[in-house]
């Protein structure tokens, strides 16, 4: 167990160590694009910073956090040490090397292509290589999660896999499906071109492959939060999980519906027909379903807790909840942001309605609300829940943690809501500096300034997070409390095989993927759409290196 705990802790430390500087960059980005004066107001620095911020938040923080969470869940929910610890450490080192390579390439100015890559822009092969090691390396973790679950099932025939383990394995499987797109893009298109092995890039194909990743990756980020909703929150609140079966179904639905829907990120692209776009828009509606089910299940679990704590009347259970617990408070705040962010998502996926907001600040605001808000705040709560259990040192302190969560919530709301509005007004994304003397842009000025204030609050909150974690780490070891998972109202004695494994669901997803992506990817074998690549930092391979001796 000791080794499993250390494994989880190391992953968390990497995640949060990367998180803080990435928030600093984010706050500075808010400033430079606002009408306010900013230090180092250099557009090149902005684009490098956006690349770094996105790479850090989307790939590094999330992957390391999910991996660490996975090991912690495996050890505690299965009640035995993680199997394959050596492989897990190898995975950790590979992912860390990948991270360092990618960060170095961006800092050297050879990779300002944003974390979504945007070929035919072409970055240094160090950047793509780093991303490949990080994402590809995390597949070792995927295998380890599946291996730990199946070996437990073998040792405990007929018993239901603990919900938390079932869910983290679902997360791992989802990540494998999601990552397949970006891995094929990296290995098949970007790395060969950046190494000079090929001369052209098919931008349409690259975008299509990345879209396989782009939506499901969001659910990979989201899953640890949902696992906390289902397995940690009800017990932190002092109640029971409303339905174990619904939890399992929710995670299964995420696997099935979050991958064959990525084309709603390509609604505005010219490389796909409207029929295929509608088809995936249709499927996208179903990915809202598990979230809508979760909202009810979690409210019900909280009601049970509130009533157990003496809450009466129709809504009296709400004030009766232990809002002082970071996990409960974070869930409340997270659900508010999930509601607003989910609303934005319903707009984005609305087929033609996507044209209203595509690539405006609305989209940036939307995923900050969902990921930066609803998901990340649960990462904090998970850290606060797990840190004392892993280290045996109490949280320093709960009051400070509450402040940190409230600040994060307030900061995200203040930053994101005006951002949504400027998006509706037509503010384009990823623009380093705006000309506020233009009347069209000037109208957005006050809203952008409000967002900057939100960004500053977020920065304060992120610093506070690190302070709390470091203070807790430096405290004395005096706790021996195991991590406790919530009981269901009706704890299942057995569950159907379909709800205790993933073989059936993987097969169904495969069918859906062939249906949803077969033609869109297949068409590139007939289309003549390859184009030259454009290196972001000057001529190297494009003219055969003739510019240097």
């Amino acid at each position: 167990m000791q080794n499993s705990s250390r494994l989880a802790l190391y992953h968390y430390w990497v995640a949060f160590a990367v998180f803080l500087p990435a928030v600093v960059l984010g706050a500075w980005q808010m400033l430079i694009r606002s009408p306010l004066p900013a230090p180092l107001d250099d557009p090149d620095a902005y684009y490098a910073s956006v690349t770094l911020h996105g790479t850090a938040m989307a790939y590094v923080v999330t992957t390391f956090f999910a991996m660490g969470f996975g090991y912690a869940v495996t050890a505690t929910s299965l009640g035995r040490p993680v199997r394959g610890v050596a492989a897990a450490w190898i995975c950790f080192v590979i992912c860390l090397i990948g991270t360092l390579m990618a960060v170095a390439a961006v800092l050297a100015g050879h990779a300002s292509v944003l974390y979504t890559f945007y070929p035919p822009l072409l970055a240094s092969s160090w950047y793509y290589g780093g991303a490949f090691l990080l994402i590809g390396g995390s597949m070792i973790w995927v295998v380890l999660m599946i291996y730990n679950m199946t070996s437990w099932k073998r040792d405990n025939p007929g018993r239901p896999v603990p919900l938390a383990m079932f869910a983290i394995t679902a997360t791992a499987i989802l990540w494998a499906w999601a990552a397949s797109g970006v891995i094929v893009e990296l290995v098949g298109i970007l790395l060969p071109r950046s190494l000079g092995l090929t001369t052209e890039i098919d931008a349409g194909l690259a975008r299509t492959l990345f879209s396989v990743t782009l939506h499901a990756i969001v659910y990979f980020w989201l899953m640890p939060a949902y696992i906390a909703f289902y397995t940690l929150l009800p017990q932190a609140a002092g109640g029971r999980l409303y339905s174990d079966t619904m939890g399992r179904l929710t995670f299964i639905m995420f696997i099935i519906f979050s991958v064959p829907v990525g084309m709603h990120h390509l609604f505005a692209d010219p490389e796909h027909g409207a029929g295929m776009k509608f088809l995936q828009s249709f499927l996208t509606f179903f990915v809202a379903l598990p979230t809508l089910l979760t909202v009810f299940s979690i409210c019900a679990s909280l009601e049970i807790a509130g009533r157990a704590r003496g809450g009466r009347g129709l809504l009296g259970w709400i004030p009766a909840l232990p809002w002082g617990e970071p996990m409960v408070l974070a869930t409340g705040l997270s659900l508010v942001m999930l509601g607003l962010g989910g609303f934005g998502g319903l707009i984005n996926m609305g087929y033609a309605m996507n044209s209203m907001i595509h690539n405006t600040s609305w989209v940036t605001a939307h995923f900050h609300m969902i990921f930066g808000g609803a998901v990340v705040i649960m990462y904090f709560a998970i850290a606060y829940e797990m840190w004392p259990r892993i280290t045996g040192k109490p949280l320093q302190s709960k009051a400070l943690a509450r402040w940190q969560l409230w600040l994060w919530f307030a900061g995200m709301m203040i930053a994101s809501i005006p951002w949504h509005i400027t998006g509706l007004m037509g503010q384009p994304r990823r623009v380093a500096v705006f000309d506020y003397s233009d009347p069209f842009v000037a109208r957005m000025g006050p809203l952008v300034i409000i967002s900057v204030i939100g960004g500053a609050i977020l920065l304060v909150s992120a610093i506070l997070l690190i302070v709390i974690l470091v203070r807790s780490q430096l405290g004395e070891r005096r706790l021996e409390a195991p991590l406790r998972y919530a009981l269901a109202v009706n704890p299942p004695k057995t569950v159907p095989a379909a709800l205790n494994g993933f073989a059936l669901w993987n097969a169904i997803l495969l069918v859906l993927m062939v249906f949803a992506y077969g033609y869109p990817i297949g068409q590139f074998f007939i289309l003549k759409s390859k184009v030259p690549a454009y290196e972001v930092s000057g001529p190297t391979n494009s003219v055969g290196g003739v510019d240097g001796p």
Binding site: P43, Y47, S112, Y118, P120, L121, D202, A203, G204, R207, A236, G238, R240, Y242, S243, M246, L266, A268, D269, P270, E271, H272, G273, A274, F286, A288, L289, L292, L293, F296, S297, A300, I304, A308, P322, G350, Y351, A352, M353, S355, M356, H358, N359, T360, P428, R429, R430, A432, F434, D435, D438, F440, A481, V489, N490, P491, K528, P532, Y534, V536
Partner: protein, 196 residues
Amino acid sequence: MAEIETNPLRRPLPDGVVPEEEITRTEDHWLAIMLGALGVMMGVMVVSAATNALHPPSNVETIDPATLHLGGEFAESNLGTAIEPDGSVTVRIIAEQYDFIPNCAQVPVDTPVKFRLTSPDVIHGFLLPATNVNTMVVPGFVAEVRTSFSRAGVYNMPCNEFCGNGHHGMWARVEVVSKEQFPRLAATERTSCAKQ
């Protein structure tokens, strides 16, 4: 949590505090209501898309990005607004690092307009704020948006997709003018409001 667990006033919440049938029934109802709500949204989307012919821009047409300027539809002399025999207009625009060409396009109000754009280098975005005109411009493809403007005025036209380190400087305009004002130039020249 420690104090909750040891609180003598609280007794164990027994298994099945909500009966299993009750749970199944509520979850089923909730699922049905959610599917119903999503179904209504889907219905609204499908019906309005059919009656108003609303689509995301989806014309799949490939083109060689390297030789655009040597001739054909996107040669420099052919960019700008063209008037079709049926009275509709077609606007051809190049989006390149880091300019739209022409950087000012003129179209008449209440007239079917077809924007055709392509890129000779990297991915760009074409957006007219306060309208639904919005498309990616991907090299190797011709992006097409069909619409008509109901309000005259000047529309800003920022590039809305990161295209490199000069992205923030890539802004242009579309001027929507009254039908009378819209100049009908000779067939040998394209209409544009770019500075000559």
